[in-house]
Every structure is written in structure tokens, then in C-alpha cells.
Symmetry: C2
């Protein structure tokens, strides 16, 4: 089948899923529901890019149905990838995007004029008291945002509620001691009932932001979390996201923003996942660019970023970014405080350098 | 990095996500949490297969956390695929698998001794009354299971509640008329709050089974639907599932069964997705095989199966199967009843053939 015919088949597959002759018997179906191929062009190495318009009505403006129209059955063709989408303003208004976004995260963390620093309490297997001790060290070093590792669930050896309480207390203790109140971000994970209960507990206990993995929970659950449940910013973690055959610029840069992520962690070029630089630049640009009136999301570059790569990352992403350095801060036993301080210093200096050079990212 | 080193890195990535030296400082972490590489072997064309054991404790027996341990961050390596997993009995007991399964679907549909027939009311764009009219035709032809198309959501031109009520009434009407009570299966789609409300409505209205797309909703939401909310069998639709880089035998044959799907629709060899025959056989075998005490799920072969391919499909999959023929039944205007009857007849005859030859599938 040639590219035009394939595109036409996908336009049907994603809407009416019947032979064209069946769809065309009903005028409403033919004109208001059926997808329409707008353009097919070569994309090198034998691949083609098809642009297909789907009627908004087909999506019912529902967060789950939208995914079905975008890449539901078409995902079952092993050679088809979903590389971009361009939702109309009405769909963006219906889904709403970030409620706090980049600006909200700056406000809640108190960081105005530079890139933000972030690390994680881990590894999985430590007790709440041990994780809180790690948090205390990071907070004393002046790190802005200290999140749970995404692998911290509700384990018998580290129950969710005990951990959240211990970490919030530790952050407050250091705030009394040093005047720097680190933003501790608990990880929410489980079935919807459990996730919403964890959110309620965390907010009641005083958490000022939370984290979740939208591609583990399912994007519709993440949407309900952001738009209907949370009253604090939500940071998206990429766990399980690579399992999806979406282009990363689309998934991290657009879909997660549209669904409501106030900050989006992605795996950057400097790290163990080897994302190409142009992909990283496109993700960050998509998260921050003006887009149908949606608030900007804060790009969070992680995925194995090391202390040594921080200055270059700030120069690359600009000030409106958060840098996530995890395991690298814990490399030397007894040296965690020192390495954390070096991280904070490096981001501060690199951000100041940007301002001096006038190279402030959008 | 060689295959052994990659496997070791993945074993860490999926559990502690810190350098080995950090993990090994804590005895509990090193012995009770850290993944362990059991075997690495070549798999042809330069690929390797690594078998990694993860401590059950890391999963917290939670449906979301399990996915994170299985393929969370590792999914972000573009060259890593998750091809199989072997959960211990305790994890299977915790997740529970199908509550009705193959046997329950036989009971609710009243089909004892042959393959089952299935079709969908569609296309999207028809009104509840028009879909109910389609259903009436299919039911009169004697089709066993008539499900919503997975693209039927809660559209303004076809509201969920009105559609479910109309289709249930139509099925009942035909039952009074012919004695054959087709099983109408509404599609649930949306955010968790909406999906659970749709379920409640459908059950109260008399639906005896429901359908959902686990890879649109998210597997943890699907688990809660099956295990905590539904009191009728749940059929899984594959929409969005191809977006996942899981091997299909694993995703359709094992993960969906473990999470609770009583029947699993997959795209078969005879259809527009071109799934290889050995993959189809492996999916069906995984769904039906004895497995850690879990109930068997009913395999549902679909994805563009045509009337003409039905006999071969019954011979291939055996009796403990449901065949899903969709758009093909609607090809000839005015001929829907006839083609539906031919479908029912073909499945009955092919099933009888199997019994005569003694070639009954497990």
C-alpha cells in the first residue's frame, strides 16, 4: 500500500473504523467524524509524514478519548509513530494544561532569577528516618527542590505517610536552622483510589508540590490528578514513558503540558540515556513556548546528569529550567553535603553568567 | 558497554537508581532491594536477552509500582524491550487476575461448547437509536457478544447513558422475540471518576459485562476497575497498546490477564495489522494456560478479521476463543443481517468440525 493509502486508512482507523463505503453512507459520519488526510510527504529513508485532521467532535474533549483518536488503534501498526499534534484552542481550554506551571513553581520554591536545583531522596530500601537524614543534608546545602525517588511507593519498610511526615519535618527543621526552606516533593503512585488518598494526606501534612509518573498511572488519571484533585503543583516523572512510541518532543513537550504537568522531568543529553541535544532543546522549547494560552511548564533535565555537567546544562537550557542531579551527589560517603553545595554553587554561578551575557532563555 | 554491563545497569536502574557503590553501603538495600542479573545470552542479530531477578519487596505488590520495577526507567533506553516476566505466586495472588475469566464469559453469554461470536456497534457518529438498530440486526442474526466500538465515548451526539440504555433495551427486545439474548458490552472511557461512574450506571441499567482500553486508561486504573469496582466481567480492548514497547505475548497474554481482564481483544494474523501467527498462538496460549492459580482469560481475535477468514481462525485458535468481526459485517447495505447470520453459522460449523476431529484447544 502506498503512503497516501496508508494515511487514508489511518484517518478511518482512528475515527470510524469501518470501510469507507460504510462510513460514507451516513452524511453526519462522513462530514463530522471521519478523519481527513491533509498532506503526505516523504521524510527520508523511505518513511513518510502524513498530516491528518480529526474532527474535534470525535474526541468528546475527553482526556482518554483524545489519546484514542490520536494514536489508539494506529499504534498497533508496528511501523507507525505519532510525531506531533496541533490541538485547537478549544481543546486546550478543555484540557486546561498547567494550573501553576513554571511561574507557580518559581513562586512556591522562592527562586526568582536563576535555574533551579533538584535532587532525589533515595535509594529505595532506606527507612523514612534515613531518607529524612538525606533530605536534611541536601537542604542544608541549599538545594531548592528535593523530590522522592519515583521508586518510593508505599513499602512496608518505608510507608508513604511516615516518609512524607518525616521529610516535611526535616525540611522545616533545616528552614528554622538556616532560613532555606527546601521544597520537598512526595511521589504519588498506585491505583487512582490510592493516589488520590496519598495526595490528600500529603497536602494535609503540608506538602507544597507533589510528583507522579503519568505514563505509569495513565494520562487520564494524571489529568484528573492535576485538574480535579491537586491544589499544589504537580511534577511529572518520565518513568515508563519510553515504553511509548511517541516522539519525545511531543510526549514530554506537549502532551504532558496539555494534561497539566507544572514541571516535566525528562532524560537529557548529559546522562545515561543519550537523548540527542536537538531533542532536548525541542522538549524545553515546547514546554515554555506560548501555546494556545496554556501556562508554561518548567523543564527539568535529569536522567543521570552529573555535577560536572551542570554549568554546561544551564548554558544550554537557560534560566527557566530545573536541573536534577541524583545519585551523583551521593557518590562519596561523607561527601554528600560538599557535593550538594558544589551543585548549588555551580547552578548559581552559571545562571549569573547567563544574565551577564544577556543570554537568558525564553 | 557490553551486554553484561548493560544488564547490571538495568538491574540497578529499576530498583535503587544510584551507582552500585552507593547501594552497597546499605546492607538492606544491597540484599533486599537491588535487582540481580541471573543470565545474559545472545539472541541473534547482535541483540542479547538478559534475565534479571527483582525482589518482590521492591514492587510493594502495587499495580503501578510493579510496572515501574518491570519497565519504568529502563523503557527510556531506546534499544531495550521488555519481552517477558515471571511473577511469583504471591504477586499473582496480590494482583488476582481475572475474576470471571473465560469460564465466567461462557456463563454470562450462555455459550458452552463452541467458539464465541462478537461484533461491534459502530461507526462513531451514529445516534443511540441508530446504534441500537444495528445491535438489533446483529442480535437477530444470533451473534453472542455485541460490544461498543472503543471509539464510543460520551459524545454530545451519542451520550453514554442514552446509548447504553437503548442498546440494552434492543437486546432485550430481540431476546423476547427470538429467545436469543445477546450480551451487549458498553465501552467505558475517560478519567477514573468518569469511568467508575459509567460502570455504576451500566451495571444498574443491567449490563452483564463491560469493556475498557487498559492502555488508554492506564493499567493501574484498569486494575482498580476490575478488582475493586466491577461486579461483571471486563473485556480489554487493545487501543493504544501498540504504543508500548512490550512484546505482544507479554502485554496481551500475561500483563492484561494478571491485571484482571476476563477477555482480551488482540489484533490477529488475519486482518490489517499483520500480527505473525506464532505471536497470535503465544498470546492465546498465555491467556489460557494454567498460571499460578489465575483464572484463564478468553482470547478475542479481532483487528480486521473478515467473514471469509472465520473458519480458519476457529481451526487455529480452537473453541475457547471469541472471534470479533467488525466492519466486514456492514459491508453491504441491507445485507448486514445476512452477513451476520453467515458469521454465526461459520463459527458454529467450524467449532463442530473441531469437536468431530477431537482437535479441541486447551
Amino acid at each position: 500500500m502506498d503512503a497516501e493509502a496508508r494515511a487514508e486508512a489511518i484517518a478511518r482507523e482512528q475515527t470510524v473504523e469501518v470501510p469507507r463505503v460504510v462510513a460514507e453512507r451516513e452524511p453526519f459520519v462522513a462530514h463530522q467524524i471521519l478523519g481527513r488526510v491533509e498532506r503526505v510527504s516523504g521524510a527520508g529513508s523511505g518513511a513518510s509524514v502524513a498530516t491528518i485532521a480529526y474532527p474535534l467532535a470525535a474526541t468528546a474533549c475527553d482526556p482518554a478519548q483524545l489519546l484514542g483518536v490520536l494514536f489508539g488503534n494506529a499504534s498497533l501498526y508496528p511501523d507507525v509513530e505519532c510525531v506531533d499534534f496541533d490541538p485547537p484552542a478549544s481543546l486546550c481550554q478543555a484540557l486546561r494544561g498547567p494550573r501553576f506551571g513554571l511561574a507557580g513553581l518559581r513562586e512556591v520554591s522562592g527562586v526568582r532569577d536563576r535555574a533551579l536545583t533538584c535532587t532525589a531522596v533515595k535509594p529505595l530500601g532506606l527507612s523514612p528516618a534515613e531518607l529524612a537524614a538525606r533530605l536534611r543534608t541536601f537542604a542544608r546545602a541549599g538545594i531548592d527542590v528535593i523530590k522522592d525517588d519515583q521508586g518510593l511507593a508505599d513499602h512496608s519498610f518505608c510507608p508513604f505517610e511516615e516518609r512524607v511526615r518525616a521529610c516535611l519535618e526535616a525540611a522545616e527543621e533545616v528552614a528554622q536552622e538556616t532560613g532555606h526552606r527546601a521544597l520537598y516533593v512526595p511521589n504519588l503512585i498506585g491505583t487512582p483510589g490510592r493516589v488520590f488518598a496519598q495526595l490528600r494526606f500529603a497536602e494535609d501534612a503540608g506538602a507544597r508540590a507533589v510528583m507522579a509518573s503519568p505514563l505509569l498511572l495513565g494520562l487520564p488519571t494524571f489529568w484528573e490528578l492535576c485538574q480535579r484533585r491537586a491544589s499544589v503543583p504537580v511534577i511529572a516523572h518520565p518513568s515508563h514513558a519510553g515504553a511509548l512510541r511517541y516522539a519525545p518532543e511531543l510526549l514530554f513537550g506537549k502532551l504532558l503540558r496539555l494534561y497539566g504537568a507544572d514541571a516535566v522531568i525528562f532524560v537529557g543529553f548529559a546522562g545515561r540515556f543519550g537523548t540527542p541535544r536537538e531533542t532536548c532543546a525541542a522538549i524545553a522549547a515546547n514546554l515554555r513556548a506560548p501555546w494556545r494560552g496554556l501556562a508554561a511548564s518548567l523543564p527539568v533535565a535529569g536522567g543521570g546528569l552529573e555535577l560536572e555537567g551542570v554549568a554546561e546544562a544551564v548554558a544550554f537550557y537557560g534560566r527557566d529550567t530545573m536541573l536534577l542531579v541524583g545519585g551523583s551527589l551521593q557518590l562519596e560517603e561523607g561527601g554528600i553535603l560538599e557535593r550538594s553545595r558544589a551543585f548549588v554553587r555551580a547552578v548559581g554561578e552559571a545562571s549569573a553568567g547567563l544574565v551577564r551575557e544577556g543570554a537568558v532563555a525564553p
